[in-house]
Symmetry: C2
Subunit: 777 residues, 2 copies
């Protein structure tokens, strides 16, 4: 763990430069607007450890895989999120010295990410080799108002007279992915252009043929006077505006304004990208940078109104919570059904791909409960668009008759990952996709979605489970062999409880949906059953599998065993692991990790979270008490589930422990890997812990149901919920819950087991359970 | 399966050119003498599919590994057997046309490998584009007499007048490994030289710094007249002797003689390699090629006297058996303790490394029972030399106190392989190494070896097993979790019977050896126990583990279960696999293979083979009958064990089925992968099947014991056995066994349960059991 950022409810603040943490800061200080984004790197030349990363949503490269020992069925490529043009580069040379924080003496340094306004700023004072000093002020943002626009406001103030100054404003498309498998470059230049103000480069990805065009409008001024560039250097992949001055007076300031436009092929034809005029759109060209930044701040203001979770009483948690929500909203906003939520968003290259089961299992609640139905539907519909590829993927692995296996990692529906124990065996991902459909339909009541695609996906997934399970004569039950569960610290295990349980759930839910549609909309059912070549005996077999599925259990208890043979392990608490062995995956060999009882992330508990309406509290508690001590939370996706369950079980310490880990995972670098990028998808788990856990949010009879357990030491916890067109506002204090909504009519909600009617324009107050420190026993 | 070679007891004969099988032929027609070797490629330019491969024993390159998803504990490199200088290259151009079998019309073609004499020869008649014809006669060998020498005798006979002829005799060190991970070149040239007769190049491997020097003496003659080279082209990595003629008469023959010397750094210092005189040693220079080839044939004659297995009555099996013995003797001859038996020998690049558990588990019986004790000891001692690296390897994986894990694949004792399920989990290899020590000491009675290194190895291995097993409270027994057994179509399984059983055997045998040494040689024990920091409680714990080891069994039977949960699988016979899915690993995805009951190679049966003296026939039979139908033999190491057991169980069909597969695996390309190289180590399994299986060879009271089951349709099976300094000769017919020996005194042998004394100079005849076709039931 590292704690070098200052605590502030709305800002990340690094108040001295930490070169050893620079890659971590570059990740946490990232900016984005759902369409494109970048790491929070320094604008100037920096020769220390750094990853300059700029990423455009949906633009990827199918990099040739690196596999030592090829297994039949592996995909040939791994889709990489692509590092694209660096538009924020400013190179400064003064008195013959290049400004480089790795080489200059730093007298003071502050880097701030204002999450309320979405602005990254920096102030730093440097001393040069000749003893002279200067201060850099920079501000940048990626506009939430104008989705193609980014802005840079960069000022240098000199405290001494200087003999010469050179400022280069650089647009640099000569970039590589650090994680390229064979050091290949992925872009080929199409054209570049430079004139007195504009720089523009279009480049195309090899193989996939995506063209991205990046333009910038550059202006340097001092004391209100524009300074024209001395030269413009236009190369294939780089355009440089060169400003040079012979003398600089002490006190003089130079300000570079860059307005940047990033155009993606998702929104333009190739010919538009190659032929559009080489200027900024009038609206952008005419506005000043402060005006554009202020419009951007207004957009953020609206986003926060809808999405903020306000926590008074624990500033460190508040900062972490807002950081998670901020990064989620920077990454994905349900505006484009072709996009999804990459595990690192725009903050790093690790993992590649954009779509993991994270989206359905962890991210959905946040979007489902804060966004309008038509927006959430885009996220759900995404997998329907990929159904043909999921069926092809299953066929490749030997399944038939329209069974689908969704990929572990994908950009376009095709599998990218190739570790056999994940690609071929971590098949529980299929269930999360079915579960998301269930969740979506339950909360929105949009049953039409079944006929619009949902049921086809459910049938294809259920067919997979029905083929993937088989009757064990030995156990006299259906078994599922050779899987990897959510806990990836077990591979190729038999009868993972979570996998078996969710498979059975899928079969049962699909069965129910088929029956519903047959009855409610027989014509649609006819169309679908024709399309999927439905066989009438399928449903009966599914019921058979579901009813006779095998579940490993611990005899004499309510504990579900994570897998067959789990009790053969030496069961030791994670607290007994020596400090210097943590995280395990960075210190222990893989066989040792696999043999041990240590759990990477919630597995049985993940199932109990998802199917919480089917298990009593005692069962959940017994399982929690058994598994929690064994869990090392080395997946970012784990602590949120533990926090959520602990809140419902009334365990304050556990609730807060895991909530803190969940929301400050990257800020404090718990897992020692934030340098690779932030854990974007897990950030949505914070919302699960707070709203589903502490506020106890569920659905009952189609109505919102809240059953809060409010930590005694917090002052207030407030958030908004979107439910079937109504915006609810919920505020918790240790004593009461106050709920109101924005609708013109009355609405019923459940608070604990009581149904309450909240009239329009009123707020309802209700006493609640407080989570208190348990007495030491 | 492919059957394009003619059947002959002493030769491989390809009597028309099969370009589609060219890589297979290149592998099967390989030559070698234990020090260096080469694939049987064509001397001329060939633009079709080919791998020109020359390999020098012990010379490797640590190629940077290719890993998609790195796991802690993986080795950084994979040692590649190095493709070295091509000395056999002859480029011919006539009437402006390059001779290239891919482009010329082939009128006739015969390629022969004479295994009796160790000579590869070829005769082929070609028609050029202009209609003229010529015949190529080539012969080459790698001398078993002069271990640095190879010979090429290459003649072209013209059947028409020709306008021009160019012959280039090439020494080419500009070679690459086809299996290089990143297309790197591994050699850098040190010097090259060329004069009227000699070519010489020395090159050094990058990283490892091995220098190899290859020289050739070239002479071209026609009608007894030497033709001097027109030019000599000396480049960094290539030296070419260029002979050109203006006219050629019909009937004229040109003969190129090349005497080649390959000097390895294992036998020379660097300065010797760089400064030695640039001529052939006098003995070689003065001899003619026919003389040198005849000396080489005499050496082969001696080898065959000692090693031949003669089978009359089945020429196809006879050919396969001799092919296996021939290739083994070409690969390794127990002459150098630094070398070992690579899985592909000198026949291909696949797999890299030289030492696998194959050596101890499959190859040892052949060498142990045919070579003198001091030679076999070199093979056994090899692992003692690698003990420090095996201890370091175990430490890297978290073991301590002198526990050793021998590598899966190695060149110098360090692990090279990196698939976690193999590298970290296929740990049963350790037991084979202990078992080889046991076998060696049993048969040779060389108990001194315990004090000379054997016991240190045994203790280190037993320490590993004692740490790798743990007490399961659930099973109330010691368990070994997370392993891959010999059947690599199961990964990360628990309680693999073979692994558990052999681990317990190691503990028990080490315990016995310690007790023996304490008593027989207390001083040596004192030295060893100091050296290994012996703890007095170790032995007691080992006994505890050994006595309380858990073994999965099938209730109500004598069948040992391959692993926990094996009966959860769908148990279907391998005969039900559709033809187009075979071999499985080339057609099915890995998860499907893992879930299935199909067994890649003998696993439980491997254990019953090794510990056959501890199990009754009924137990072996029940297990054979259960596992044999499930076994797909997709490892070359599998059928020999099945054949051996089937012979002892009296099943003629099974014996012959698996024997045929084992000895003709490469000749008929059973596993569709001989193009990558021959399966050298599995060839020794043929000897297991014949001598341990059909002849029923074992040890009893320190005496050779034979219990033959002779196939009724064979005429004779004859072979020699070396046992404690005595050479026995055994001849089986369907009716009797005749045994004699070469010793001056009498020796006792067991035949079945009867002890027989065979006097010097006499032969003993004994009636035997015949294996007959079982009646259809």
């Amino acid at each position: 763990m590292k704690q070098y950022l200052k605590i502030d409810p709305w800002k990340l603040i690094e108040d001295e430069f930490h070169p050893e943490y620079n890659r971590i800061s570059e990740a946490t200080f990232s900016l984005g607007n759902g369409r494109f984004g970048q790491r929070g790197y320094l604008e100037e030349e920096y020769t220390g450890d750094s990853l300059i990363g700029n990423y455009v949503a949906g633009i990827y490269y199918p990099d040739k895989t690196k596999v030592g020992w090829w297994k039949n069925g592996y995909p040939e490529y791994f889709a990489k999120v692509l590092n694209a043009a660096n538009w924020a580069s400013v190179k400064v040379q003064v008195n013959q010295q290049i400004i480089d924080l790795h080489r200059c003496e730093i007298l003071s340094f502050t880097r701030e990410l204002d999450m309320k306004r979405g602005v990254l700023s920096r102030k730093c004072t440097l001393k040069l080799d000749d003893g002279s000093t200067l201060t850099i002020y920079s501000k940048r943002c990626i506009s939430q108002t104008h989705k193609e626009i980014a802005l840079l406001d960069y000022t240098i103030e000199f405290h001494d007279d200087m003999a010469d100054l050179q400022i280069e404003s650089v647009l640099d498309f000569d970039v590589r992915n650090e994680d390229a498998n064979y050091d290949d470059q992925f872009w080929e230049p199409l054209f570049s252009h430079g004139d007195e103000r504009m720089a523009c480069i279009a480049a195309q990805t090899l193989k996939t043929g995506f063209t991205v065009r990046v333009s910038s409008d550059n202006s340097l001024s001092s004391d209100g006077e524009l300074i024209p560039p001395g030269s413009i250097d236009v190369r294939d992949k780089v355009v440089i505006h060169n400003y040079s001055l012979d003398t600089v007076k002490a006190g003089q300031r130079f300000t570079l304004h860059k307005k940047v436009r990033v155009q993606s092929p998702l929104f333009y034809t190739q010919s538009e990208l190659l032929s559009e005029e080489l200027r900024m759109p009038r609206m952008i060209a005419d506005a000043t940078i402060p005006e554009l930044m202020s419009a951007h701040a207004e957009s953020w203001d609206k986003l926060w109104t809808q999405h903020d979770v306000q926590l008074d009483g624990d500033p460190s948690l508040q900062q972490g919570i807002r950081f998670c929500i901020f990064q989620l909203l920077q990454t994905y906003n349900c505006e484009d059904g072709r996009l999804n939520i990459g595990p690192k968003g725009f903050t790093g290259e690790k993992y590649g791909g954009t779509t993991y089961w994270d989206t359905e299992a962890y991210c959905l609640p946040f979007y489902l409960h804060t966004k309008e139905q038509d927006k959430v539907k885009k996220l759900i519909f995404y997998r329907y668009r990929h159904l043909p590829q999921a069926i092809a993927n299953a066929e490749k692995l030997g399944f038939s008759d329209g069974a689908a296996l969704y990929p572990m990692v994908t950009m376009n529906g095709e599998e990218c990952h190739n570790e056999w124990e994940i690609t071929f065996e971590e098949i529980h991902r299929n269930s999360a996709i079915a579960y998301a459909i269930y969740n979506y339909i339950q909360y929105t009541d949009d049953k039409h979605y079944l006929a619009q695609g949902g049921l086809e996906v459910l049938i294809a997934i259920s067919r997979f489970w029905s083929q993937r399970s088989h009757w064990s004569r030995d156990k006299e039950a259906y078994v599922i062999l050779g899987v990897t569960g959510p806990n990836e610290y077990e591979n190729n295990i038999n009868n993972n409880w979570y996998t078996n349980r969710m498979a059975a759930w899928c079969l049962s839910y699909t069965d129910e949906c088929i029956n519903y549609l047959k009855d409610a909309d027989p014509e649609s059912w006819k169309d679908i059953s024709d399309k999927v070549r439905w066989q009438d005996d399928e449903q009966a077999h599914w019921r058979d599998v579901e009813k006779q599925m095998y579940y490993p259990i611990m005899e004499g208890s309510k504990v579900f065993l994570q897998q067959d043979g789990f009790l053969d392990k030496e069961i030791l608490p994670a607290s007994s692991i020596p400090e210097d062995q943590i995280p395990l995956y960075q210190h222990q060999s893989w066989d040792r990790i696999l043999r041990s009882c240590y759990i990477k992330q919630a597995d049985v508990l993940q199932g109990l979270y998802m199917l919480r309406d089917k298990y009593d509290e005692e069962t959940i508690r017994e399982n929690y008490d058994f598994y929690e001590p064994l869990t090392v939370h080395e997946s970012s996706l784990s602590p949120c589930i533990h926090s959520m369950l602990a809140a419902r079980l009334g365990d304050l310490d556990q609730t807060l422990l895991h909530l803190r880990r969940s929301c400050r995972l990257d800020l404090d670098d718990y897992n020692n890997n934030t340098r690779e990028g932030c854990h974007i998808t897990s950030m949505a788990g914070v919302w699960i812990a707070l709203v589903e856990g502490i506020a106890g949010y569920d659905l009952r009879d189609g109505r919102p149901a809240l059953a809060p357990h409010m930590p005694e030491m917090w002052d207030t916890l407030s958030f908004s919920l979107h439910h079937r067109g109504v915006g609810y506002h919920v505020k918790l204090t240790p004593a009461e819950m106050i709920i109101s909504h924005d609708s013109d009519t009355s609405h019923d909600v459940y608070i604990y087991d009581e149904m309450i009617t909240v009239a329009s324009g009123t707020s309802h107050s209700h006493s609640i359970t407080t989570l208190t420190q348990s007495e030491p026993s």
